[in-house]
Amino acid sequence: MISRALLTASFVALVSMPSADARADGGAVRLREAAGGFTLTLFTPPDPIPAGPIDVSVLVQDRTGAPLLDGLVTLRLTSPSGDTDQVLEATATHDAATNKLLYAAWVDLGAGPWDVRVVVEHGGETARVDVPLSIAPATMPLTGYWPHLLLPLVAIVVFVLHQCLVESRRSLA
């Protein structure tokens, strides 16, 4: 009973070791909004988004919910940086998207607050939405996980020592 409790406690302790947040399956929905004649959905990686290249994907649907695949989607990302704003522009395309219903672009963002403006043009109609994004400083992803990675090494060393003791006892006998 005691050993089982110890085992459970060890597992809980190991799982609770310091760690950063994990990434989600394909990102999080940042916004889903009706704009003009469209419904726009914006995907980004889930929080916290580390500084660096990130995938910004957009789903454009018409009023019936059908995806529109022949539109033009541009992204304008603005971040206040000192006296002047830092501005990035990118065209989101199906080629850059994994799910070909989406329009995607990879943009390299530094840490800090960003405003993402999505502009969609289709059939003479234009719609735009604005979404704030907060980018966290880039971190070494493994920094928080060294105890997890050390575990096999420790276990192997203990096992090797155990086997050495067993063998030496066997040879003495």
Binding site: L14, V15, S16, M17, S19, A20, D21, A22, R23, A24, D25, G26, G27, A28, V29, R30, L31, R32, T41, F43, P45, P46, D47, I54, D55, S57, L59, A97, T98, N99, K100, L101, L102, A104, W106, P141, L142, Y145, H148, L149, L151, P152, A155, I156, F159, Q163, E167
Partner: protein, 368 residues
């Protein structure tokens, strides 16, 4: 009638499994309800045809790629359908667990319970449990991964150390776990697009195909050959096949970590999906599903994934050591024999850790 000799092994199922793993990523089957429906239909037609033409559960045993996938995973299961008391079987003359009776069919997969070892080829249908008139068969606890180090003769299977097809199947499942996960991360997809662009290809599918086939087919063949050569060198030819099986724990934990990632990171999409379903069936008149509530991911997920892979690596290394020691008397020779396979296990472990740290490609699944 009996299935033809060429079907009575795992080779055909291995080809189907490789084909499925390749097609799933190369043609984005996850993105195509159309292909998913056809696959399911083909599966049922295939199962009905094979089991109509041939006796026994030939489809489960020789054809079904999903079944083979689970058979390999079950090598590290903590549960097993087995007998309770050997003496009850020793006195049994009817062998109902195999032949069946009026209460239940016997084992369609030809597994005679007193000589059954481990879960390989067992579908857990429990026909044998219901058929046994002595109430001597049940689901029993056992030491996980014991199958990997115990090379006893098995009913209908024989010794695993003599089954090259089972060893290759295990390698395909193990390497498939790492290749499948790596194929889903953004840097690998970006790299494939870049290579395709440099080669002037219109699509990255050929690059994906080459990558997957290199990892799932070529790597297992190369490692199996190297294992055979090194095992012959120390005069224990059958060790190669047994070492191939010892990679199963690290492969299984990679699959578990991978699938757990999808399950936990998509878990919070339950709410908007239910909202949408309620609107679709008309129980709620108008409500906009809160899609932004989904896709947050689990805070401790990466830690759990690494710990799972830690456990898989350690069990694999331990199984290698036990396997080597059982065949080679001197510890230092045993260590030398297992070292190449330990290197493979550590290499797979590092590949798994790298994969966990990469961002998953943007699939936008929750909006479909």
């Amino acid at each position: 009638m009996l299935p033809p000799p060429w079907l009575r092994s795992k080779w055909f199922a291995i080809v189907l499994l490789v084909g499925f793993l390749w097609a799933y990523e190369t043609f984005d089957l996850w993105d195509s309800p159309w292909w998913t429906a056809w696959l399911i239909l083909a599966y049922f037609v295939g199962a009905l045809t094979v089991d109509t033409l041939f006796k026994g559960a030939s489809f489960c045993k020789y054809v079904c790629p999903i079944g083979q996938f689970h058979f390999v995973q079950s090598l590290v299961s903590p549960l097993e359908v087995s007998i309770r008391r050997p003496d009850a079987c020793a006195n049994c003359r009817t062998h109902d667990c195999l032949r069946g009776n009026e209460r239940a069919r016997g084992c369609e997969l030809d597994l005679f319970l007193p000589r059954k070892v481990g879960n390989l080829d067992c579908t857990f249908c429990l026909d044998c449990v219901h058929a046994c008139p002595h109430d001597n068969v049940g689901i029993m606890a056992r030491v996980p991964a014991r199958d990997l180090v115990w090379d006893a003769p098995r009913a209908s299977i024989g010794r695993l150390s003599r089954r090259t097809d089972v060893a290759v199947l295990a390698l395909v499942v193990v390497f498939g776990g790492f290749a499948g996960a790596a194929a889903m991360v953004a840097p690998v997809r970006t790299w494939q697009e870049a290579v395709a662009g440099r080669l002037g290809l219109a699509s990255s599918k050929p690059i994906m195909s080459v990558m997957l086939l290199a990892v799932i087919v070529v790597a297992p063949i190369v490692f199996a050959w190297l294992a055979d050569v090194s095992a012959r060198a120390i005069g224990a030819r059958e060790l190669g096949r047994r070492f191939a099986l010892t990679l199963v724990p690290v492969g299984v934990t990679m699959w578990v970590a991978h699938l757990l990632f999808h399950l936990l990171s998509g878990w919070d999409s339950v709410l908007p999906v239910v909202q949408r379903a309620l609107v679709d069936v008309g129980w709620v008149r108008s409500a906009s599903p809160d899609w932004a509530a989904a896709g947050g991911g689990g805070a401790q997920l990466l830690g759990i994934e690494i710990l799972l892979l830690d456990a898989g690596l350690l069990v694999s290394l331990y199984a290698m050591w036990r396997t080597a020691r059982a065949s080679v008397p001197r510890p230092i020779t045993a260590l030398g024999a297992m070292l190449p396979w330990a290197g493979v296990a550590v290499g797979l472990y590092c590949a798994g850790i790298w994969t966990f740290l990469q961002p998953m490609q943007m699939r936008g699944m929750m909006m479909r």
